[in-house]
Subunit: 353 residues, 2 copies
């Protein structure tokens, strides 16, 4: 069905049978790896790492040399789009991303240009092509983008936020301004993901990191609605191969039924819900990706193996499970514990004859 | 049943009929009020405000002069207990609370003393007595404490956290150390809340601010378990009056059924779940407190009134609803919008003859 040597991830995302459960990990290329820290030091800063395709490829490939992972994920950041829109992205020590020119008015929104992925975001598309070459079709490459709502939170707040007061005031007082911003972002994200797909991404993931701070009504109108627009505009077939879409709303476990009906192929779930319950709620509508607490990687190898077994059993060895964490690996995790996890997923999920 | 002139809150928490839905708001005494900012400036810093009973009383009473609220809540902080345990609490600009001597080992835990509320925490108990006098039994006073798990996160991490890596590493690698800490905290919180009740608190609330970052299994073993120990040890009757207990696990909507069976009288819910669904899930086991998004206080009076109506209708005018926000009022809220909310709750919840 695909030209991939290992296509477990694609098959599982499409709820087809697999020989064992595929596994990849959010932030599998990251600071917990000494070789990542070396490349990062060579790059100087985080955005230079993202903007240099050879280095982005280098760090994307690093965890694959250590672990038997079933997918690579493009090394990049969700804020590449607002950065390309001219907001002046920079990273402050300890406080995370910040924008020099936040979006506060309808006039600000109207001035925003929708970036052309092949020019303003060429470094990302070029990274996709470089990684695809390096992968030699051994395993699939996952492309990704932030959801319009999530990108808008950073653009309006001017950086990270705890209460989201500024964007929520906009949501309730100037909903049309926010809708215009989200609509522009949906157009930008669609073009961006389609360019990643054209460059070789085999699956794409939408990170709705901050959808979970909304009411149900606002989640549907201001977050899910725009993710649905994106999903409807994505290239779904390339050379007869389906490109699956994974949707991950952090803290969105209360909306599993509505996200399952949104047009995605799979939903990412975090550890605050038992995967058996999540499976029961979505039925056979979508695949599930998750859901181990990354903090469990601090535990002993025996504990990690036990937890992997328990999550696999919770899902129930049905088709449609991609093993992952519910959040990115944190920098303080011992790399050898990640190997324990990856191997345990394959070991415990093999069908007994 | 009570000696309170307005006992709507107590009746609603015990799921008894009321003439209209009671309302109070988390952080109703807070920075959004100019008179609070004036008292705070007079005190100099936040902990002096907490530690001076007359000033704590002054700010507790301030919102009652403006709004027709059905309860006062003790002005204090959940970190008074770790502070009294000698961890060296201080507040850093923009970063929140921090402890000079975080808890990292079993030896650290063993050294912790359980504070006597009437001596080390006398300023809190004295504030309760002062506020009770000022209230003249017009409305009930709510006492409160942080849950053992929530207090432990600050004590082990040394302050606020995003990933909770240090305490989760302890949870998975040194569970017995963490259990010892939580057990000591449960004893301390029980004595602390019983002293508040003896000093006149008419209801108590347990704030489990960080329970929602745990897996279901860990939530039950490391958070809910210790809250149940506390609830079992609280004075439940004073002069023939029942002291209701409200339990609030932020981000804990997936565990409504298990928290409803924990021995509390009411559960606080935030805006990420529709209150009609929450009501359906808990049935008549407990009352519900919530659940408007405080950001809606940025909206127009008409919008706020509409939202209040919708939440009241969602609960369905059954007994057992206490109107509240799902989180504290943020400093940027216009005080006149709070009046709109409070009045709308009473107006729209009156039984039509």
């Amino acid at each position: 069905m695909t030209n991939l040597i290992n296509d477990r991830l694609i098959r599982a995302l499409l709820r087809q049978p697999v020989d064992c459960t595929p596994v990849w990990l959010m932030r599998q290329a990251g600071r917990y790896l000494p070789e990542y820290r070396a490349t990062r030091a060579k790059a100087g800063d985080f955005m230079t790492l993202c903007k240099t395709p050879e280095l982005a490829c280098e760090v994307t490939m690093q965890p694959l040399a250590r672990y038997d992972l079933d997918a690579a994920i493009l090394f990049s950041d969700i804020l590449t789009i607002p950065d390309a829109m001219g907001l002046g992205l920079h990273f402050t020590q300890g406080e995370g991303p910040a924008f020099q020119r936040p979006i506060r008015s309808a006039a600000d929104v109207r001035q925003l240009n929708i970036p052309d992925p092949e020019s303003e975001l060429n470094y990302v598309i070029s990274a996709v092509r470089t990684i695809k070459q390096a992968l030699q079709n051994k395993i699939p490459l996952i492309g990704f983008a932030g959801s319009p709502w999530t990108l808008a939170t950073y653009m309006v707040e001017g950086g990270s936020s705890k209460q989201f007061s500024i964007i929520k005031a906009m949501l309730y007082n100037q909903p049309q301004t926010l809708h215009l911003l989200l609509s522009k972002l949906a157009t930008a994200v669609t073009a961006y993901l389609n360019a990643q797909i054209a460059a070789g991404a085999n699956a794409v993931m939408l990170f709705d990191t901050w959808g979970g701070v909304l009411t149900t009504e606002a989640y549907q109108a201001f977050s899910l609605n725009y993710m649905q627009q994106i999903m409807a505009g994505l290239t779904r077939q390339v050379n007869g191969q389906t490109i699956p879409i994974i949707l991950f709303t952090k803290g969105g476990q209360q909306w599993l039924e509505i996200t399952a009906a949104s047009g995605c192929d799979a939903i990412g779930v975090d550890w605050t819900i038992d995967i058996s319950q999540a499976k029961q709620r979505v039925g056979n509508k979508v695949a599930l990706q998750g859901n181990m607490d990354p903090a469990i990687l601090h535990a002993s190898p025996e504990y990690i193996r036990q937890e992997v077994k328990s999550i696999l059993a919770g899902y129930g060895h049905n088709p449609g499970h991609v093993f992952n964490l519910g959040h990115g690996i944190t920098p303080d995790i011992p790399p050898e514990h990640v190997k324990v996890l990856v191997d345990a997923v394959h070991e415990f999920s093999q069908l007994t004859p």
